[in-house]
Symmetry: D2
Subunit: 288 residues, 4 copies
């Protein structure tokens, strides 16, 4: 067939499978979001509509891809965690990244009018890029998520102080920058409180903690440390009977995908939700 | 800072830069499009609205990313070619692929109502995955594009015959399949003509040839072979003066991005449009 | 400088760093060893001189590269394990593989006359190729080593039976092959015993178990499972004081590198030698 | 079989095939050669025995691996070029690099006594590491080789001046360094000539130009530029008849592998030896 003399070009494709038995994090970032914020008049330092839209799009990703165990978002970025036993797309990096980015973008654009009913989109449309990173141990994975949440805290405290100085204090952006240069967290808290009567700890949790998305089951009392060790020691995807797999699938489908704003650095979050690391669905709460 | 004890996790990111001085093709494919065709009632064997929507989304990609020289699409797939001197995102595969996929998806979802005014989208939304492949020589690149266009021809001839047997001939899909098993191109042409008075060559070019997208300048008389050789021998991005770069950028911005349905296997297409391989903008046609 | 216009070629080098916090196994294999066996008249099914030479070369690798925790060899292959916290050559695959292969080859060629005093080397010289593979968990690593040792057992039982049939039983190689086709381990044991009065379990351990190389300290009573879990949970290279690092280095330098032939599939081996997985040197035995 | 429960570990091996239709350069470097020079008393600035030994080892590599078209060496490094159509080891980077490094090391250690009859090797033995880099066009490849030869010139001129100042001028190494700081090539030539009556251009070519290894056929009058273009435009390994392949193989086997010291930056070298880039063996010179 005429086609055959061209088909050699397939040999130029190179595989990009990610190392088995490692946690895969796909992180996406908004492209040129500073420009976008200006174009669509996002509120400063945080636009709740924009964050809610991000969360809606991320929730759709977690819902559509049951292999994603947890997602964490802040500002215009979101990280999606795939279980270390996940074999979706044979763990090919480009398939995983592009599917997450595409699902996220589709939902972001589709749901825009819900969150910005008075601000229609225009060209160029908002887009996101992404990359995949592997983490071998539970500790590495938790440190990654802690890194993002600590970053959220640091940036949000700075931005809250910065924009208070401008919006409430009447400074221009250079003066605000100068005021904050070299300040520690305590200094920024003090500036907010003494100048503007703002207690930073009373700021909304969605701003201070970012957003966490996961499937929700009944909380349990577990010992995280032991559970993490057990999970680290897994060598391969668990071998489960078909009926068990089918049961798990049903439980997962029944579980609500929730968006929360809470601490994921301390052990408590993980202790109470062992299913996130174990990939064994918990008990689905009774309908109220 | 609290953040620092987590920051080591950045070391787990691995670079994925594509080899310099090679043509980069980013190909995207619709995910689960068979299901989508059924869900939204796409016409068989070709749905012109769906193709036009694909083309609109692809045109937006080529417009937004001036480093893409040409794009070729058929069915639910599209290939975007980046010039071998392109240094966009430092040639990082995941950034290139995710940006193309995200831009394409955003435009596909955004423009859906224009092409399917009576068929609103519903969850799960249409999505695309992607991958990047490098081709070292012009011949490799052209063979890649020829492979896709030859594939378009082969599949469309088959599908046209298959659906004619069903829609016009009253066969069911098993009977149609059996009828076509082992037939050559000439046989399928004959079946179409003798049974249904369809001259395959009169079928719309968008179905038979797929769609080609590029910046349009005045056609020229060149010798492709010589030009291709010259381009293959390039070792690096051309060193151009700033003023020349600025001029080129303006020309590119002025050039219309067009969607055509024509042969890109033969030399003629490339002979007349040397700018696609050289990345030196041609003469912008006068406004009529 | 004249050099500068060429220096852009450095940009074509691509990094190949292996994922941090994973065990690195560099396995080397003899090239065209079947031919070599014939050329130098290696004894069948095992040539003790050749194995001793392999072991001498491997011992030199472990001695020269203190980051290698354990090595396992059988026939013309050897696997070298680098600790998951190892940062040698910034974990670049090509540097690690080439250094191991070069050190092994240098010692193999250099020590040849010691083990084959009557058989001088001639061109082409014996050579080895290599590759690096990462394993995220202790279980994965132990399963890798178990795989190699199980392979040793399977092959050696077969070869012992095969060559007994030929050397003692007078069969030709086709007949021997046919005799063994479809036999289980028990059958081969039976053939050896009933036909040739060979008790396979009395065969030398170097043939049945292969060779293990490691630094030797005083054996301890530990619980492997707990230790392995603790090691899996390590997220990063341990942060140690300089004086501690210096002490460890001295201990390592004092430790004898030993070549043993013993079971490494069962827990006992690992239980008694926790330093292999922990990279914390044990107690150096007193000189007798 | 017992083995099967371990065999999953094979899935952790990742492919590392190099992009087809690109030139592969495997460069090797001596490990810790500064120490080695001191240990074995290499002469400064160049030790002819050491260079001859490097060349002997490299010649063995080119002889053993007919897919290597040309090799270039200077000091303790050597670059081996594999033709862009080469499919040795399916172009797997680790196999290519390790085989070159192993063959080189084996020959270096084996031939040491020939070149250093009075200086026996001792532990740790000399070793080499290596890496592979792909170059898409002939110009990229020639620029790589030119980069290495320009480097040879720059370093050798410096070292010749530096060691003359010490050995003939009685300076210590700090004084010599200070004398040369900031000098241009012309200055160094002048220092050599005016102080020590050394005309740098009369220094041995092996020191000034390094060493080039290739298969030798009858020189021809060709136009390099045209030839290079033709080769760049190749899309795939040439399809040759079996008899032609057989003929070529015989010619290659008959060709002498030679070590020369000449300019490979200018076109002349390549013009006269088109077989190096084309991989079509030239005319084997008649035996004299």
């Amino acid at each position: 067939m005429a086609n055959s003399r061209f088909e050699y070009v397939r040999n130029f494709e190179q595989t990009d499978s990610l190392l088995p038995n490692t946690w895969i994090v796909v992180r996406i970032d908004g492209r040129a979001f500073t420009k976008m914020c200006a174009k669509y008049g996002f509120e400063k330092p945080n636009d709740r509509r924009a964050l809610n839209l991000m969360n809606a799009a991320a929730k759709a990703v977690v819902t559509d891809l049951p292999e994603s165990m947890i997602a964490y978002g802040v500002s215009d970025e979101y990280s999606f965690v795939f279980h270390k036993s996940c074999n979706l797309f044979e763990r090919r990096a480009s398939k995983l990244v592009s599917t997450v980015v595409s699902t996220f973008t589709a939902n972001y654009v589709y749901s825009w009018p819900t969150y910005f009913p008075d601000t229609p989109l225009s060209f160029p449309l908002p887009t996101f890029d992404g990359r995949a990173v592997c983490y071998p141990s539970v500790q590495n994975l938790r440190d990654y998520l802690s890194w993002r949440q600590a970053d959220c805290h640091i940036n949000n405290l700075y931005n809250t102080a910065f924009w208070s100085l401008i919006q409430l204090g009447g400074l221009d952006s250079k003066e605000a920058q100068r005021t904050l240069a070299g300040t520690l967290a305590a200094d920024k808290n003090e500036i907010l409180f003494s100048r503007f009567h703002i207690n930073y700890n009373n700021e909304p949790e969605i701003f201070r903690k970012g957003s966490v998305i996961f499937r929700d089951y009944e909380l349990v009392d577990s010992e995280c440390q032991a559970a993490a060790l057990e999970i680290d020691s897994l060598a391969e995807p668990m071998r489960q009977s078909k009926s068990q797999l089918e049961k798990d699938k049903k439980k997962r489908a029944k579980a609500r995908v929730v968006v929360e704003h809470m601490d994921i650095i301390k052990d408590e979050f993980w202790d109470q939700r062992p299913w996130i690391l174990s990939n064994r669905p918990g008990k689905v709460p009774k309908e109220p």
